[in-house]
């Protein structure tokens, strides 16, 4: 389609040229209404009238008005854009500050938690140590008491044995045993046992 158009355009251009030249010789033979010289003056006259009117309207009324509208809008849009960026920057700042605060308080909370934990651990360790010491002391006391009781019991046991033995001897042999001797013998026997 474009090719067809271009071909016709080219041929028309050459036809125009030839007609243009023929026109100089004989205007009446020109085939196209475009080369009818008798129609030139009216076209040019009205072209001038129309164009002057158009130019006056454009230059005095229409274009200054559109220019003013465009300029006002450009300024408005420019200031709007500036304000939008300012607000965006402000929002960014606020968000950054908020995030910073948030991070700080989170870190602080962690610190507090950690120190509380440590204090608690220390306290419980101390308490545990105190308790342990106390228990150990008590155990030691108890052991000492047991040992004392044991030795006391042992001492009593010798007396009881001597008494028992002297009684037995007295019954069996009818001999009165000297309590001191009986005690010595019992101590020796116990020591041997």
């Amino acid at each position: 389609m474009m090719i067809l158009r271009a071909l016709l355009l080219a041929s028309a251009a050459s036809v125009c040229l030839s007609i243009d030249m023929a026109m100089a010789a004989d205007a009446q033979k020109a085939g196209m209404p475009q080369f009818d010289l008798t129609r030139f003056p009216s076209q040019i006259f009205w072209l001038g009238v129309a164009f002057v009117v158009l130019y006056l309207i454009m230059s005095k009324v229409a274009l200054p008005r559109i220019g003013a509208v465009l300029e006002a809008r450009a300024n408005r849009i420019g200031s709007d854009l500036d304000r939008a960026s300012a607000l965006t920057a402000e929002a960014d700042q606020t968000r950054a500050a908020y995030e910073k605060t948030l991070g700080e308080s989170r870190a602080k909370a962690q610190d507090v938690g950690r120190s509380t934990e440590a204090a608690l651990a220390k306290e419980s360790a101390e308490r545990q140590a105190v308790l342990g010491n106390e228990l150990a002391g008590r155990i030691r006391d108890a052991e000492a008491r047991i040992a004392a009781a044991k030795s006391a019991a042992m001492a009593n046991l010798a007396g009881v044995a001597a008494d028992t033995a002297s009684l037995a001897v007295e019954r069996v042999a009818g001999v009165k045993v000297d309590p001191a001797e009986a005690a010595d013998a019992a101590r020796v026997a116990l020591a041997r046992a």
Partner: protein, 124 residues
């Protein structure tokens, strides 16, 4: 459900979107509109260019012939001025053609360069 999470994604993406649109709007305002010769370079095909330069040549020849005829009639030297000015007119037509083609090439090159630059910027 996660893809249509209404709270977080939409607010963050709309924030990014807003920033991008703001930047685009500023860019548009600062860069200005595309140049008018771009329109010509993009829209006039080879055939259009061919016709344009044909008219350029024809106009040069026409003026040359016209001047030759006028000079010959004035000085009574027919057909010498016509011959000389036919050749000069042809040369002037060729000059016109050359200028049109060169301007067209320049506009084309500028459009291509701008397109590359834009693509480069987009890629970044």
């Amino acid at each position: 459900m996660s893809e249509t999470d209404p709270g977080k994604t939409s607010s963050s993406s709309s924030g990014d979107d807003f920033a991008a649109r703001l930047a685009a709007a500023r860019g548009r305002r600062d860069a200005g509109r595309e140049t008018t010769s771009d329109v010509a370079a993009r829209n006039t095909g080879q055939l259009g260019l061919g016709f344009r330069i044909a008219v350029d040549l024809l106009a040069g020849v026409t003026v040359g012939v016209g001047m030759g005829l006028v000079l010959d009639r004035w000085l009574g030297t027919s057909p010498w001025f016509l011959l000389v000015f036919l050749i000069l007119g042809f040369a002037a037509g060729m000059t016109n053609m050359l200028r049109t083609v060169r301007a067209n090439d320049a506009a084309r090159a500028r459009v291509a360069a701008e397109r590359r630059e834009r693509e480069h910027k987009d890629a970044r």
